[in-house]
Assembly symmetry: C2
Homo-oligomer: 224 residues x 2
DNA sequence: GCCTGCCGACTGAACGCTCGCTCATACACC
DNA sequence: GGTGTATGAGCGAGCGTTCAGTCGGCAGGC
């Protein structure tokens, strides 16, 4: 969990400890331990004692750095989203220097998702367990990540790499790409029977590129 | 919850009560009550007492029809999947009589998903809480639903309605359609800001149809 | 019609246990 | 000695689950 370089909201969670550096250090221990356990057993089945143990702390100490188990879940979600955002940012940056920009963007992003499978699943499963306050915070990050794709695709349209589609269509394409990444994580148990990640990437990429080729003035919602 | 007409695995869950009809009746009460509460508060935050109360039963009685809270979760997932499968089956059947078959299939399916938003979210969130035994049972149903789309698309290829694509591509298309339905449910908080269900349907449909138009001999995985 | 005995669905107080969280105490450093 | 961090036994609310007991209804004997 190396959530540097991207803004997180962890600082909004109160702590008893005054040494700021120490807070960061201990919280990383705690979050790392918690992520592992949550992935393995889920939030509700994991006890705070287990987390403390895995983080090499006593329960007492744990509660010096965190006000409640729910806060801890928020720290976990925040860290994962941070990592995700960092990954996506880098992926998009790397891709923009390449020849086939869109294909590379998709590829890089899907590879990030492939690495973060467990984390993505965790987010889908446990976001609901957050207090409303933290949940909206987490969803904001999700919006931000999708936003990166909005921008990237619109830029490609402006640059003439993609045909000049209408805004709703482009935005939905961004949504689709984001979700296809999640889909690989959420349905890996099913998809991985039939496809390797590389096959998955090239098939989905082909689908998108084809859809641009075929896009002319076909009235949507009729014929097949 | 009207899970008639489709096979469910509810009969695999043991009960103390001998009258078969009564078991069906009471379990429907229980499942209906549980679905509502689970959607509202999640599985873990809902107590068995609450479920019993909402189902107009005593806790004692509840446990005559169910061996554990986890079994009850399975009954819920099973019922939802049953309803889903029934919906999909009907949707595909209705669509096959229409003119633009594929577009109609998508439309009908998405409308089913739109109605079942809460249930879909529930499944994504709580399937992990099932004991392994029941989880595989639930996933089997998911495979079956996706299978319906596999068949439907392959049939359209055979009939020449769709171009003769390779099997992996067609199967992935089926996956995509299934997941787009789920996506509408899972990201409704985001998507519904920008699209109505009808816009969502026509945009996604256009994307698919275009991808067929554009599909010729484009080597997948290169260029953009 | 009435009594009796049995069946089986139903009830809810009570049990045992888990788990989030606290706090009195100890320790380390200045 | 004062400040700040670490410890872990202990607390108690809340939960899933059980079980001794209730009660309506039905079959059969008279």
């Amino acid at each position: 969990m190396a959530s540097n370089s991207v803004q997180t909201a962890a600082h909004k969670v109160p702590t008893q400890v005054k040494d700021h550096k120490l807070v960061q250090l201990r919280r990383r221990q705690i979050v790392d331990a918690a992520v592992g356990l949550f992935v393995q057993k889920g939030f509700h089945r994991t006890t705070t004692r287990e987390i403390a143990k895995a983080a090499n702390l006593s329960i007492g100490s744990l509660y010096e750095y965190v006000t409640s188990k729910e806060d801890l879940l928020f720290l976990v979600c925040d860290a994962i989203h941070g990592e995700m955002e960092a990954g996506v940012t880098q992926a998009l940056a790397r891709a923009h220097t390449a020849a086939g920009v869109l294909a590379e963007m998709i590829r890089e992003y899907f590879l990030v998702c492939d690495c973060m499978t467990d984390h993505i699943v965790l987010i889908y499963q446990e976001t609901q367990s957050l207090p409303r306050k933290w949940r909206t915070e987490v969803l904001k990050t999700e919006v931000r990540v999708t936003g990166r794709f909005f921008e990237a695709l619109h830029r490609l349209c402006d640059e003439g790499v993609l045909p000049p589609l209408e805004k709703p269509a482009v935005d939905l394409m961004a949504h689709n790409i984001v979700v296809w990444g999640h889909m690989w994580a959420l349905r890996r148990w099913f998809l991985a029977r039939q496809y390797s990640i590389d096959q998955y990437i090239s098939l989905q990429t082909a689908l998108i590129l084809n859809s641009f080729n075929g896009a002319s003035s076909s009235a949507p919602g009729s014929q097949a």
